[in-house]
């Protein structure tokens, strides 16, 4: 219960944050940080029981008949994520208070970032697939608002929309996948699904569900080829980049993969999709990280690389790999969060984030430099840091992989060496060497800006030196949760002399070489026109194409379908009717059933029909309205003649009268209309002719069908038998009109009279 209450309160606090900021002003960040701190303490208190293998499971049946319930499930995996989200959240809130001190919408910023925190906590703590999706989309939505926070800038708006579209569409795929998963497993409860892995993997829904879920996870966790939104999302204020786009939100995809791996993992499809995607992302992300000069973009690409490594490890799915993944997750959240916050502090003090314009900041910003150094140590994977342990584990997992261990280890070394170089670029270059930046007196930022990076960077070292304090139990719990069985993880800085250590040494050497050679490499890349090539063929181009396509579709849709022309709307209705009715006729009625009736006609009947056909053709072909009206009149008279021939003189008389009246009325109207001027072109006419023929054909077929069906009317015999006896009249039609249905006739006459009065009133109005 306390969990749900805490979650609800997080959103309440978010809603009240702007008001609170108005009251607290300067201190708002420090005060608001107390709430995530409370979360951290609360979750930390659960560590004991969860590491003992006793996960917290709360479930309120809500609509049992529909299988919908409010449920929360906190195991080792949720705990690790929850602690990262709340712990880093507290530091980021403090940092934001200082970083955005002068921003006039700081209150709104708190609103967004706290709602993000609530959504993210909900995402990792919920035990229901539907709730998971809702929180998933909420994080996308809050990310949209946070990236576009400085909405005066066009780039920020563009990047926000891009992130929303990519992760939002991925979210839709995820939803479809989760629903299929629910159908396959017969429940939407996570805990139950995790126990039904066998059945799920055997289900016919498995493959489509897996593909859809992977699309969701890959878009969210910026895997190739959906990675492009993450570097662009660096338009967000730096605390957002540190929090959402490195430490927490982008790991939601990884969380999902880890969460579902007991249920979905282990198959060939999973191995190929997840391992392959992760491996490609790991290497490509690391290579691309060397390119940019903006500190934050460099960090973003390196984040992409690490996310790839995490995905890759979860794809392998061996106990070693999962162990490495969970350690790397923890290490990365700590050092990357710290480095982003350092980048923000440097930007805050010097006004630039360009690595080539920074240097020698160390002496004037000692605290920031210390934080950066510790974080960079972890990123480069050097002892004594958590990054070192995780990299050792990564190599170990790769070397023990079932397939292609050498290739995997090679890719791992390449990516890690590149990250060593990147760590140098972001952690060393700005602080050592010659001071490039000379304007003004540089100094460390206020405590709110250095507390976060220092604690995060320090934690990366401290947890490695004393792993049994926190790192080992946390990873143990998380790994047990992912593997679905109790597993003990003991993290150690020193593993003895083994192949992993050798690879580490190689990595550091190669990394140092790459760091030194970076200008040279960039020069080669520029000559090979890599950037232009990527712009033309990269996935970002695909995204732009898609947007253009969507706009074009909208315009085409409006132009084609929503043209405003009545005739076009009619055409669609008729076409659909023909499709519906025609298909029914075609399926159910053999043509031969009523073909015979057409042939059975006498010559003078045929003559009239031919005449009517000719008149119809004339009505269609003539360009004079009067001629068309006259031709239609001929058709009408033809019908009347046919009535006469078939022995219905009264009907024929009525038809003659109606036709005459119609022609006269039409002529009166046509007389006042201008001549046809804009006649449609040939293609339009052909189209209309085809449509008219199809519609006419359909009506003809319908008439023939009606005629061939035996009409079992009870009325005709009744009137025939009773018109003379009851109403004393021989003409049945007349008797029906004036006797049997006299009331109807009275009604009709009344309507006509009312209409006549109306017409008279209108005419009178016109004359006045």
């Amino acid at each position: 219960m306390s969990l749900i209450l805490a979650l609800v309160l997080t959103f309440v606090l978010a809603a009240m944050a702007p008001r609170l900021h108005g009251l607290l002003r300067e201190a708002s960040g420090w005060v608001l940080a107390l709430w995530p701190l409370a979360w951290t303490i609360y979750l930390g208190g659960l560590t004991g029981r969860i590491t003992q293998g006793d996960p917290l499971y709360i479930r309120y049946p809500w609509m049992p008949q529909l299988g919908v319930s409010l449920s929360f499930y906190v195991d080792g995996l949720g705990l690790l994520f929850g602690l990262l989200i709340s712990g880093i959240g507290a530091l980021v809130l403090i940092y934001s208070g200082g970083y955005l001190k002068k921003h006039r919408h700081l209150g709104r910023f708190y609103l967004f970032i706290l709602s993000f925190m609530g959504s993210m906590l909900g995402l990792v703590l919920t035990g229901n697939l539907i709730a998971l999706f809702v929180f998933w989309e909420l994080t996308s939505l809050s990310s949209y608002f946070l990236i576009g926070f400085e909405h005066e800038r066009e780039e920020a708006r563009q990047a926000a929309l891009q992130a929303l579209l990519v992760t939002g569409i991925g979210g839709l795929a995820l939803l479809a996948g989760l629903l299929l998963l629910g159908e396959a497993g017969g429940t939407l409860e996570l805990t139950v699904l995790l126990e039904r892995g066998e059945a799920l993997r055997a289900s016919p829904y498995y493959l489509p569900a897996l593909i859809l879920i992977l699309v969701g996870a890959f878009t969210k966790s910026a895997q190739v080829p959906f990675h492009f939104w993450l570097p662009n999302a660096m338009e967000a204020p730096t605390p957002v980049s540190a929090y959402l786009h490195s430490a927490t939100m982008v790991k939601a995809g990884v969380y999902l993969l880890a969460r579902l791996s007991p249920a979905l993992g282990g198959t060939a499809a999973w191995q190929i999709g997840v391992t392959g995607g992760g491996l490609a992302t790991m290497v490509l992300g690391a290579i691309m990280a060397l390119g940019p000069s903006d500190l934050k973009r460099i960090l973003a690409y390196s984040t992409v690389s690490t996310l790839g490594a995490l995905t890759f490890l979860l794809g392998l799915g061996t106990p070693l790999a999962v162990k490495a993944a969970m350690t790397l997750l923890l290490a990365h959240a700590l050092y990357k969060g710290a480095l982003f916050l350092v980048a923000g502090a440097v930007d805050h003090e010097t006004g630039t984030r360009d690595v080539w314009k920074l240097g020698g900041l160390g002496p004037s910003m000692p605290i920031t430099a210390t934080a950066a150094g510790m974080a960079a140590l972890s990123m480069a994977g050097l002892p004594p840091s958590l990054g070192f342990i995780s990299k050792e584990l990564l190599y170990e997992a790769q070397l023990h992989a079932l397939h292609l261990p050498a290739l995997l280890a090679g890719a791992g070394v390449l990516a890690s060496a590149l990250l060593v170089a990147v760590a140098g670029v972001v952690g060393l270059r700005p602080f050592f060497g010659h001071p490039v930046h000379r304007t003004g007196h540089l100094h460390d930022p206020p405590p709110s800006l250095w507390l976060g990076p220092l604690l995060l960077g320090g934690a990366g070292i401290a947890l490695a030196i004393a792993p049994d304090m926190a790192a080992s139990p946390l990873t143990t719990a998380a790994v047990s949760a992912v593997l679905g069985k109790p597993t003990v993880v003991e993290l150690r800085l020193w593993h003895g002399l083994n192949p992993s250590l050798a690879l580490s040494a190689l990595t550091v050497l190669a990394g140092a070489g790459l760091y030194a050679a970076q200008p040279f490499l960039l020069d080669i890349a520029a000559r090979a026109r890599l950037k232009e090539w990527a712009a033309r063929w990269g996935p970002q181009r695909g995204y732009e194409r898609m947007l253009q396509g969507l706009n074009a579709l909208a315009t085409t849709q409006t132009r084609l379908l929503q043209s405003g022309f009545l005739r076009f709307y009619l055409m669609i209705i008729i076409l659909t009717t023909i499709a519906l009715v025609g298909s029914t006729i075609a399926i159910r009625e053999p043509l031969s059933r009523w073909m015979g009736r057409i042939v059975d006609a006498r010559p003078y009947e045929l003559m009239i029909v031919v005449l009517m056909g000719l008149a119809t053709l004339m009505a269609v072909l003539t360009s004079s309205r009067l001629a068309a009206v006259a031709a239609l009149g001929i058709v009408g008279y033809g019908v009347a003649l046919l009535y006469m021939l078939f022995g219905a003189p009264d009907l024929a008389m009525t038809q003659f009268a109606v036709e005459t009246l119609t022609v006269i009325l039409l002529v009166l109207v046509v007389y006042r209309l201008p001549r046809f001027t804009r006649l449609s072109g040939r293609p339009a006419r052909l189209r209309d002719a085809a449509l008219a023929l199809a519609a006419g054909g359909m009506m003809t077929a319908l008439m023939l069908m009606v005629l061939s069906a035996p009409l079992k009317s009870r009325l005709a015999p009744f009137f025939a038998a009773n018109s003379l006896t009851l109403a004393k009249g021989r003409n049945v039609v007349n008797v029906i009109l004036v006797d049997f249905r006299a009331l109807d006739t009275l009604g009709e006459i009344t309507v006509l009279a009312v209409a006549a009065i109306g017409v008279y009133a209108l005419l009178k109005l016109r004359m006045e």
Binding site: L66, L175, A176, T576, V581, L702, A709, P710, K712, S713
Partner: protein
């Protein structure tokens, strides 16, 4: 007793005639009194519906009309829609100098036709009701004369509507030709033991009925008139059409396809499923691309027709209450949204583009909050009524095995969040331009308050009952 199912219809129609008569004799400048009269008549009709609610199934007039629980819920939805539409019409009309008694009379007449549709048990009554409700609407769509858009809307609606009616009559005629029946439950009985020689006539008749009723319900591909007409018609009428006319059209679909053609469901399920899928996709997809609130709401009404069509295919024990509840929840939220739109329309000319909504919530937070609530309900976010309505429909379709349809429904629902929230974001987040709302409009404010209350109340009510019964 035989007349009892017609009681609400008769009350509204008699009221409409009375109003017309009064219009001829009223003093100039007393038009607001007509609105009050119309409200009282609607209240009387609602009272009659409430009294009838306790009565069991009630057949009347040669089994041509039928009062049952479905009829009660449909009538209630229609009457609520009529009442709210009258409430928010008055100031809008007065501001434009087009407030005349006929307006309210036609509104009541149309509502009378819709109420007749709710109790129809015979194909001929369906036809009669359809014409009865349509003709006043044709006139009302053009009521903002001499605005050309309004006249164009009226003419388009009239011509296409007449066309659709022709399909309806033809379909009825074919069914009659094949079976000699027009009564819907007799038709169902016939279909359980069909005469093979006449079967195809009935199928084709059914197809034509689907075209005609699909047109009225604005289902794809018969939806094309909707955006044009909704945009051109006076805003209060658009709201009335989106809510009450939709209800009546769905009532017709329920009566014809469940009561009448129910035993032949295997045959019409395919086309209806296709239509439902296309309607959900097109309605929501195109709504994303709109820049005017009224047009967006037009596509929204199309989209919801898709969800309702899906409900038509659902497992009956869930689908019947589901469709009823959905209609009520959708109508109320839509009417509330249109109350805001009416409030936004200045006395001379109206701008319904999203830009016009920018920052309005800062000046009138109550209105902004109400709008947010309506949009959330239209998306289907708990704890609003819209959420539970969608839940019931989706569950019904899911249990009937329409998994692909439910997936489309859920995904389009998520898509719909983007365009519905756009209005809310514009109202709350965008920078306000210095602009004043027109003078206070108590009618629209009351409509908003009532709709907002009902949206939450229905949701909370469902929330409390949902766990226990369903």
């Amino acid at each position: 007793m035989a007349w009892l199912p017609l009681l609400p219809t008769l009350i509204l129609t008699a009221g409409a005639l009375l109003l017309l008569l009064a219009e001829a004799f009223r003093r100039p400048g007393s038009a607001a009194g007509m609105a009050w009269g119309a409200l009282w008549i609607t209240a009387l009709g609602t009272g009659a519906t409430g009294v009838l609610a306790t009565w069991g199934p009630l057949e009347g007039i040669y089994r041509m009309v039928l009062w049952d629980r479905g009829a009660f819920w449909l009538s209630l939805t229609i009457l609520v829609g009529t009442g709210i539409a009258i409430l928010f019409s008055q100031r809008y009309l007065a501001d434009r100098g087009i407030e005349r008694g006929e307006y309210y009379a036609f509104l009541l007449l149309a509502a009378g036709g819709m109420l007749l549709m709710a109790v129809a048990a015979d194909l001929l009554v369906v036809f009669l009701a359809l014409e009865w409700l349509s003709f006043p609407l044709y006139i009302l769509a053009g009521f903002a004369r001499p605005q050309p858009e309004s006249e164009e809307a009226a003419l388009k609606y009239f011509l296409l509507g007449a066309f659709a009616s022709a399909f309806l009559v033809f379909g009825i005629a074919l069914i009659f030709a094949g079976t000699g029946l027009t009564n819907l439950s007799d038709l169902a009985a016939w279909l359980r033991r069909p005469d093979p020689g006449a079967q195809s006539l009935v199928w084709i008749g059914g197809a034509l009925l689907l075209v005609a009723l699909g047109f009225k319900a604005a289902a794809v591909p018969f939806h094309l008139w909707t955006p044009d007409v909704y945009e051109g018609a006076p805003t209060p009428i658009t709201g009335f059409m989106a809510a009450a006319t939709k209800t009546a059209a769905v009532a017709a679909l329920i009566r014809v396809f469940w009561t009448g053609l129910g035993p032949a469901m295997d045959l019409w399920a395919g086309p209806v499923a296709l239509m439902a899928a296309a309607t959900m996709l097109v309605g929501n997809g195109v709504a994303l691309l709109q820049s005017s609130f009224k047009r967006m709401m037009a596509y929204s009404s199309i989209a919801h027709a898709g969800y309702l069509l899906m409900g038509l295919l659902g497992e009956p024990s869930l689908a019947l209450p589901g469709v009823m509840f959905y209609l009520l929840a959708y109508s109320i939220a839509t009417l509330g949204a249109f109350a805001v739109a009416v409030r936004m329309a200045g006395p001379n000319g109206e701008d319904q583009s999203f830009g016009a909504y920018a920052g309005v919530a800062r000046g009138s937070p109550g209105m902004g909050a109400a709008m947010a609530l309506f949009m959330l309900s239209l998306i289907g976010v708990p704890p609003t009524a819209g959420f539970f309505a969608k839940l019931m429909l989706f569950a019904a379709a899911w249990q009937a095995g329409w998994i692909a349809l439910v997936l489309i429904g859920v995904i389009t629902t998520v898509i719909s969040a983007y365009f519905y929230l756009r209005v809310v974001v514009a109202m709350w987040m965008d920078r306000p331009e210095p602009r004043h709302l027109p003078r206070p409009d108590p009618g629209a404010r009351l409509s908003m308050a009532l709709s907002a209350f009902a949206t939450l109340f229905l949701g909370v009510l469902w929330l409390m009952l949902g766990g226990l019964s369903l």
